[in-house]
Amino acid sequence: MTRPVYINGIGSVSAQKTFDNASFLEDITHHSDTVLNVISPDYKTHIPPAAARRMAKGIKMSMVSTKIALQEADLEENKIDAIIVGTGLGCIGDSEKFVMDIIDNNEQYLTPTRFIQSSHNTVAGQIALGMGCKGYNFTYVHSAISFESAILDAKMQLENKEADYILVGGVDELVNHHIDTHRLIGHIKQEPVETMAVLKSGTKGAIFSEGAHFFVLSSEKSPSCHVELVAVKTFNNLSKNQVSGKAQTFLEENNLTSDSIDLVILGYNGDIEFDDYYDELANGLFSNTAQVYYKHLCGEFDTASGFAFWLGNKIIRHQDIPEVLRLNSVEISEPKTILIYNQYRGENHSFTLLRKC
C-alpha cells in the first residue's frame, strides 16, 4: 500500500495578490498589457535586506513563497528532507545579463555572480543552503511540465518512503530580452488585452508573466490540511483529438470517471492557435462539469500551472469558486475532486488530480 500524499502548505507569489493566504482572490488586479509582473510581497519582512539585494528575483519570489507554505503547514524548516523545484528558465535575468556582458565586453571584466545565479538549480540550491537541508535536491527544467515533473517526483518520494516532508515548487521570472525575442516570434501578443477579455482576444500568442508557487507535501496530514494529491501525468505531445481519450484513461487509472470530477481547471491563455486543446474537454467530456480558467489572472509562463495547483487547493479549502474564474455556470455545492489540465502550444500536456481530504 503506497502512502497518501497530502498538501499541507501552499504559497504563491503571482501577478495577483496571492501572497496572503487569509484571503482568496477577493481583490483582483486588472491588467491591460501583453506582459505582467508579479505583485511583489514585502520582501523585507521575509528576507534580510542585505541578502535580498544580491538575490535574483526568482530566488526572492521562491523564498517568500516557501516561507508562506511552511507557515501554513506549521512546519519548522529543518523538518524538510527534500527540495524539488521546477523552472522553465531558472534565474534567466542573470543568464541574459551574463550573455550581454560576454558580448558587450568581448569576454572581459566578467564577475562570477551572474554566472552562478544563472545555473538552473540555483533556486533549489539557495533554499537548501538557507535551510541547511542536506536531503534530496532536484531541479526540473522542462517547459510547461517543469512544475508537474517536480510534483510527480515528490509524490514518488513520499509513496516510496524516500522522504517525509518535501518542499516542492515552480518558479519563473520575466525579463526583457526574453520578452522581446518571444514577441518577435509571435508567442507574446502584439496588442494589450484587458484581464477579463483574454479569452475573447481573437489573436495569436499569450500574455507572458512570472511567479513562484511552493508547496509542502507529506504523507503526514497536518491539522490545517484539506487536500490530497491523487495523481499527476504528463505527455510530451498529444494531438487535439487525443486529449479527451487521454483524460479518460487518466481518470480510469485512478478508478474515476468524468462524472466523479466536480471541477476542471483549464489553462486557457487566449491564444487562438492553441486554446482549442482546452475546448476538447470543455465542450466534450466535461461540458456538464463546472469549469474555471486562470491565466487571465496570472498570465502564461512555464510554471503557470503552479498557479492552477494553488487555485485547486484554495477552492477546496475555501469551498468557494470566485466568479472571476468561471467559464460556465454549472453549480456545485461542494467542490471535492478537481482535475487540472494544462498544455503549452500543443506540447507538454499534464493532468493533475486533487481531492478533498
Partner: protein, 399 residues
C-alpha cells in the same frame, strides 16, 4: 532488492570518440581528447584547453540528415548518442511499451542563444533558435528524433550532476512501475557562456587537467552526450534482452555548504554515497572500483578524496577519474561516466587516471594510473555540481 534495474543499451559521443566502441578504444589506449579550442572563437583560446567533439556542426547535421543550422549542438550530439543507445538495445518500435526519456543539460541551446543574441531582431533566418534557450527544448528535439510519442519526457538541470540524476529518476520510475523502459543521460555542448563562467570562477586549467594530483590547476571543460536504456525485468524477460549491466543503487544529497564550492569534508558526497549503498543493500567493502567525479579543481578533489576516506573508513578501493580523457562534460558527465563504468564491468578493466604525478599533501590516496585488468563486480560513480548537488550511482555486472 533484486538485481537492480537492467541496462540494455548505451550510446555516447565525446572528445574521445563518436560511439561506445571508439570511447572504449581511447580509454584503454590512453588516447586523450584534450586540446586547444577550435570550434568556438573565444579570446581565451590560448589560455584554456578543452575536450571538443571533433566533428563540426555541419558534419553532425549531415550524419543525422538534419537541415543546416536548425538545432543547437547540444541537440545534435544528444541525438547521436540517444540513437546509438536505442539501436544497441535492439528497440524496433520505441512506443511499443511505456517508454520515457529523461535528459540532463545545463546549457541547452545556449551555444546558439549567445551567437544570435542581438541578431534575432534583424535576422528572421535564425529565429528558430529563440525557443532553444529553454533547456527542455533540447530534450524535446531528441525525444522527437528517437520517435517518442505521447510519453513521459522531462529535463533535469542540477549542474554537473544532471545526467546522474536523470539516470536515478529513470531507475526510480521503472522500479515504481510507472515506466517499462526509459532512456536516460545527458548532453551539453561547449559554449562561450560556460567557458567564461568557469573562467570567472578561476577553476579552469591552462594545461591538461590532472585529477587528484597535488599540483592540479583546475578543470578542462568538455562536451559530450551519453545515454543509457533502462528496462524493466518484465521486458527483459519477455524479449530475452541482452543485459549490459545493472544499476543497483543511487543516492542524492545536498552539501548545503556553498553555492559553488564543496565542503572541506565532503558531507554531501558522503551522504550521497551512503544512500546509494543503502539502496543497493551493499557494504562499502563490496565496491571494486570508484569512477570519481575528480574534476581536478583544488576544491573538488580534496573534498571528494576526504569523502571517500570517510565512507570507506580509510580503505578506499581502487579509483580513477576519467576527466583527463574527456574534460569535464558538465551535465553529461554522469552519463559519460555511467557508460565508462559499464564498460569497466563488461571488460574487467579499470581506466587510468592520466596526468597524475604527485600525491596530494592532505591524504594518502593515489588513483590507478595505468590500464589495469581486474575482475570487477561493482563500480561506484560520483557526480557533484553547483548548488551543492551530490549524486552517486552504483553499477553491477550483468549476470
Amino acid at each position: 532488492m533484486g538485481a537492480g534495474v537492467a541496462i540494455t543499451g548505451m550510446g555516447i559521443i565525446s572528445a574521445i570518440g563518436d560511439n561506445v566502441s571508439e570511447n572504449y578504444k581511447s580509454l584503454i589506449s590512453g588516447k586523450i581528447g584534450i586540446g586547444k579550442i577550435t570550434q568556438i572563437d573565444t579570446v581565451h583560446k590560448d589560455e584554456i584547453m578543452v575536450g571538443e567533439i571533433k566533428d563540426v556542426n555541419p558534419s553532425l547535421e549531415k550524419r543525422l540528415k538534419f537541415h543546416e543550422n536548425q538545432n543547437s549542438r547540444t541537440v545534435l550530439i544528444g541525438c547521436i548518442a540517444a540513437q546509438e543507445a536505442v539501436e544497441q538495445a535492439g528497440i524496433s518500435d520505441i512506443n511499443d511499451v511505456r517508454t520515457g526519456f529523461i535528459s540532463g543539460t545545463t546549457v541547452g541551446g545556449m551555444d546558439k542563444s549567445e551567437q544570435y543574441f542581438y541578431d534575432y531582431f534583424d535576422r528572421p533566418d535564425v529565429r528558430q533558435h529563440i525557443t532553444g534557450l529553454h533547456a527542455g527544448d533540447s530534450t524535446k528535439k531528441i525525444a522527437n528524433h528517437i520517435g517518442l510519442k505521447e510519453s513521459f519526457v522531462t529535463t533535469i538541470s542540477t549542474a554537473c550532476s544532471s545526467a546522474a540524476n536523470a539516470i536515478m529518476l529513470g531507475a526510480r520510475m521503472i522500479k515504481s512501475g510507472q515506466l517499462d523502459r526509459v532512456i536516460v543521460g545527458g548532453t551539453d555542448s561547449l559554449s562561450k557562456f560556460t567557458i567564461n563562467g568557469f573562467k570567472t570562477l578561476m577553476i579552469l586549467s591552462d594545461t591538461y587537467n590532472t585529477p587528484f594530483d597535488d599540483e592540479r590547476k583546475g578543470l578542462n571543460l568538455g562536451e559530450a552526450a551519453a545515454y543509457l536504456v533502462l528496462e524493466s525485468d518484465a521486458i527483459v524477460d519477455k524479449e530475452n534482452k541482452n543485459v549490459l549491466g545493472y544499476l543497483k543503487g543511487y543516492g542524492n544529497a545536498n552539501d548545503a555548504y556553498h553555492q559553488t564550492a564543496s565542503s572541506d569534508h565532503g558531507d554531501g558526497a558522503v551522504l550521497a554515497m551512503q544512500k546509494a549503498l543503502e539502496v543497493a543493500e551493499m557494504d562499502p567493502s563490496e565496491i571494486d572500483y570508484v569512477n570519481a567525479h575528480g574534476t581536478a579543481t583544488p576544491n573538488n578533489d580534496l573534498s571528494e578524496g576526504r569523502a571517500l576516506i570517510r565512507l570507506f573508513d580509510g580503505k578506499v578501493p581502487e579509483f580513477s577519474s576519467t576527466k583527463a580523457f574527456t574534460g569535464h562534460t558538465l551535465a553529461a558527465a554522469g552519463g559519460v561516466e555511467a557508460v565508462y563504468s559499464i564498460l569497466a564491468l563488461q571488460n574487467d578493466v579499470i581506466f587510468p587516471n592520466l596526468n597524475y604525478k604527485t600525491q596530494m599533501k592532505e591524504f594518502d590516496l593515489s588513483p590507478v594510473t595505468e590500464v589495469k585488468k581486474k575482475p570487477l563486480t561493482t563500480v561506484l560513480s560520483n557526480s557533484f555540481g553547483f548548488g551543492g548537488n551530490c549524486s552517486t550511482l552504483i553499477f553491477s555486472k550483468a549476470k
